[in-house]
């Protein structure tokens, strides 16, 4: 950097600038000034998101949509490819087709999350100044949040880790940024479950914010056995990057994740005087909706509708449904056991309210996920299976 300061700059040093100007032609040498003019825009015109992202992945043409030719210049020990078609069962006519409906490239993404952070910090200052903690039911605060918001943190953290191999292996650039942002939101969520409890400790010294309580629930509690095993299996047993993402974002998270975040914490917090948790969870739900739209673009708009391989892909998605749905439903049923540990609240913890809440999750999922790929689900049977877990 010292050199930079000492040296004369070609833009500002009059003599150098004059020499440069003398070499610049009066007219530009080409009329095409649009970077990425050859990229197929999703909408009417190419967006900055598309320009920055599309074809950054340097794959050869034998991986559909790639612009390069030939082999990889260095491979794994033993000769496995850097990237390859064999890393997923899905087939695509163009791995560069996906577009994030939110048009996120890096600055767009960090700006939004940075704003969320500032808003959250202002909220915490207000919450503490108001003494709003006083209204929270002590059982909810001292039992439920440490155990179950803590356990949710582990679920989110496991899902986050399920993305690492996906980010290594996936074969498209727009895919890679969508998966990366989804991953980052998941680790953020796990950190935010910790933040809620750490915040309470700060305004209520003596409150135990260690994650150990939630970890114990998650690893040993009966309420999370299937959830944990499902997450572990997505994270470490599954090598197909599309299967990992499909199981995570098209099955487990919109069912189990939504049941816990929206229908448990969001719905019940007001009944226990808790205005802190719903505020933090509102951020997670925003991320969920953004991710949902992006994943729908990948699995519904692109892969299910692929002009050559749509039918083939759909059959695989059905296979993955068969594989991952039962353990997800079991996870939801086991989670029902928690209701018995809550102080009762009419209109919130009675069986009818719980049934209605489970129905919302299942129905949303059937409409937004199962129906989209024509996967048949018996809604009332699924709801009944879940509700059978109520103690």
């Amino acid at each position: 950097m010292s050199l930079l300061e000492e040296r004369k700059r070609g833009l500002t040093d009059p003599e150098m600038a004059a020499k440069i100007m003398a070499e610049i032609p009066d007219q530009p040498l080409d009329t095409q000034r649009k970077m990425g003019y050859y990229v197929q825009p999703r909408g009417k015109r190419l967006t900055e998101y598309e320009i920055m992202t599309c074809y950054t992945q340097p794959t050869p043409d034998w991986i559909s949509g790639g612009l390069d030719w030939g082999d990889w210049t260095q491979k794994f020990h033993g000769g496995r490819s850097s990237w390859g078609n064999e890393t997923t069962e899905m087939l695509s006519s163009d791995w560069h087709e996906h577009r994030d409906p939110a048009g996120r490239w890096h600055p767009v993404y960090v700006k939004a999350k940075g704003e969320d952070w500032r808003v959250l910090q202002r909220f915490m200052e207000t919450f503490s100044a108001e003494g709003a903690l006083r209204t929270i039911d002590p059982v909810w605060r001292d039992e439920i949040l440490p155990k179950h918001l803590g356990a949710l943190g582990y679920s989110e953290y496991g899902l986050f880790n399920a993305h690492s191999s996906v980010l290594r292996d996936c074969t498209g650039d727009t895919l890679r940024s969508t998966f990366a942002f989804a991953a980052f939101d998941k680790v953020d969520n796990s950190q935010m479950t910790q933040l809620v409890r750490t915040f309470i400790t700060k305004i209520m010294p003596g409150y135990d914010d260690s994650p150990a309580i939630g970890k114990k629930e998650w690893t040993q509690g009966a309420a999370y056995k299937s959830a944990r095993e499902t997450v572990e299996s997505m994270w470490q047993d599954t090598y197909d990057w599309n299967e990992v993402m499909f199981a995570t974002h098209m099955i487990y998270d919109p069912l189990f994740g939504q049941l816990v975040r929206r229908e448990f914490f969001q719905r019940l917090s007001p009944a226990y005087g808790d205005s802190l948790t719903p505020f933090v969870l509102a951020g997670m739900q925003t991320y969920f909706q953004t991710t949902k739209a992006a994943m729908a673009d990948i699995y519904h708009h692109c892969l299910d509708n692929d002009k050559n391989y749509g039918g083939f892909n759909r059959r695989w998605m059905h296979v993955w449904m068969e594989k991952w749905l039962p353990s997800t439903v079991a996870a939801m049923a086991e989670f029902m056991s928690i209701y018995a540990t809550l102080p009762t609240r009419d209109g919130f913890t009675d069986k009818a309210s719980i049934a209605a809440s489970v129905n919302r999750v299942v129905e949303d999922w059937i409409v937004d996920y199962a129906n989209k790929i024509d996967y048949k689900v018996d809604q009332s049977a699924m709801v009944a299976t879940i509700l059978a877990g109520l103690k």
Partner: protein, 525 residues
């Protein structure tokens, strides 16, 4: 905690404490290391022969939201400068033509490194077991997305404002045409993501970032600024602020494996291979881009190289890792020899195949030649004379029908491509250390230009099978290949690559190339 206790605590505390309070990133981060849990199959999908310790910490203790806030502050500054002051000053156009061409390559090729580093950091995040170490790699994964987009933005900006937008607009499509691309992929793409995870970390973080990031990112800003380009420093210095995290990650990788006996066995070999891999491409390519791709010179490349690669990296940085058993690579000596002439050798070849570029090249001017001779005594007798001959034969003028590649054929100077590094070399004309070795394997011939790469291939030939441009294009006429791989401008006939950057000079078209009737030939066939 028992309810009654907590409730008492609450009552006491709340009576006292209603000061506005919030939570800082560090207060959340301090629990990070507890976010993991053990389970049966908790192991990485990318095996490494090393063992990464479970308790490895990270140096930059960020949580997701704080990361986002910090990066968006940097973005505001960067985009503010670009879109406001620099645009009003027309800074995107007031750049020395040669340098504006150089940035077509620099920004796009760096982008490839950044993009592959996303996948590389993700692989490391997968292979680390400590949550803090995972978090460090995750931060890098996000940074590399940022850098990918930033590099893209430099080309995007120049596409809008520079007087020759071709190549800035379509580098991602046309870059595969020329002979520099595959070598680029070896160092900055496959070398980061294909192999033992720790070996990849050594390539990416310990060598790519700790060693060549300085010359690449910082030195580029100095050359840019001298040549009127303030766009590149605005972006690249912002990239550089994230790189500390990545070098720290590389350091932590070594710390995490240091106690494993495998480290003593393999680490120095892997480091030596990684160093040679990276330097084999970057030493000549960076030197060439700086010295031959600029109007105003900053300092001889050999000086930059000695300071940053040899002294700072080979000495200080590696020295700091000495307590973990890391030694300066054995190949550093050979690399030092190459740092003097290798980039001059490469430019000779790069210029000879200028029609396959996505940038305009220029023969050294009289001023350049004097500078070269002053800084590299002996330059004129070996290289300068050849350029004079080419110029005299009209290599810049489309009506001459002369492409310097033909001169190599006429004079029996065979051009080979090293199988491992994919870097072209001409054994009969080289002043650097390259020398020809040929091996046959499975009925196919492979050329190599140095002992270190040859050794890598001999022990694992299945890792280096990529065909080179001469094999791929053999038997085909040059203009045909150019047209097929999108090497033309928006008029459909004028080449993107040109052999000069003068205002007066005519631009070559596909027809001009066709008249020269250059047909590719594979020297190994």
């Amino acid at each position: 905690m028992a309810i009654s206790l907590a409730t008492n605590a609450a009552t006491d505390a709340l009576a006292l404490n209603r000061a506005p309070t919030s939570v800082g990133a560090q207060e959340v981060h301090k629990w990070m290391q507890d976010f993991n849990w053990d389970f049966k199959n908790n192991r990485t999908k990318y095996p490494t022969k090393y063992l990464m310790a479970n308790d490895t910490k990270e140096q930059f203790k960020l949580i997701a939201k704080e990361y986002a806030r910090m990066e968006s502050v940097k973005d505001e500054r960067q985009f503010g400068s670009l879109q406001d002051a620099l645009t009003r000053m027309n800074a995107g156009n007031r750049v020395a033509p040669k340098w504006g061409e150089t940035m077509k390559v620099v920004s796009n090729f760096l982008e490839v490194g950044e993009y592959n580093a996303i996948a590389a950091s993700a692989m490391l995040w997968d292979s680390a077991s400590a949550p803090e170490q995972k978090n460090g790699y995750l931060g890098q994964c996000m940074d590399e997305i940022r850098h990918t987009h930033q590099c893209g933005y430099v080309n995007y900006y120049f596409a809008k404002y520079f007087h020759d937008p071709a190549g800035h607009t379509d580098a991602r499509r046309v870059r595969t045409l020329g002979p520099l691309w595959k070598g680029m992929k070896r160092v900055f793409a496959d070398g980061f993501i294909s192999g033992d995870a720790v070996e990849c970390s050594i390539n990416l973080q310990l060598v790519g970032e700790a060693c060549f990031t300085n010359p690449l990112i910082v030195a580029v800003t100095e050359w840019a600024s001298a040549n009127g380009d303030e766009v590149t420093p605005t972006v690249f210095l912002s990239i550089e602020t994230d790189e500390l995290r990545h070098m720290a990650n590389g350091y932590q990788t070594v710390v995490s494996i240091a106690h494993d006996p495998a480290a003593a066995k393999y680490l120095n070999t892997d480091l030596n291979n990684a160093f040679w891999t990276q330097q084999k491409y970057f030493t000549p390519v960076l030197g060439m881009l700086f010295e031959y791709g600029s109007k105003f010179k900053v300092e001889p490349w050999v000086k930059t190289w000695n300071r940053w690669v040899y002294e700072d990296w080979g000495g200080i940085w590696i020295g700091r890792l000495g307590k973990y058993g890391v030694q300066s690579p054995a190949s550093l000596k050979d690399a030092k020899k190459d740092a003097y002439w290798a980039h001059h050798d490469l430019f000779l070849l790069a210029y000879a195949v200028w029609p396959t570029g996505f940038f305009r090249l220029a023969l050294p001017s009289k001023e350049d030649a004097d500078w070269f001779e002053a800084n590299y005594p002996g330059w004129y007798d070996h290289y300068g004379k050849i350029y004079e001959e080419w110029r005299a034969r009209g290599c810049e003028d489309p009506s001459s029908g002369f492409i310097p590649l033909q001169w190599f054929v006429e004079n029996n100077h065979e051009i080979y491509i090293d199988r491992v590094s994919q870097v072209p070399f001409c054994p009969s004309l080289t002043k650097g250390a390259s020398s020809l070795r040929i091996h046959e394997y499975n009925g196919k011939k492979h050329a190599f230009s140095d002992e270190w790469g040859e050794r890598m291939w001999l022990s694992e030939p299945e890792r280096y099978e990529c065909q080179n441009v001469f094999e791929q294009y053999a038997g085909r006429e040059l203009s045909e290949v150019i047209a097929e791989l999108w090497g033309v401008r928006s008029d459909g006939v004028t080449l993107i690559g040109q052999p000069h950057v003068t205002k007066e000079g005519k631009l070559w078209t596909l027809d001009d190339i066709k008249r020269a009737n250059c047909v590719f030939k594979d020297p190994l066939a």
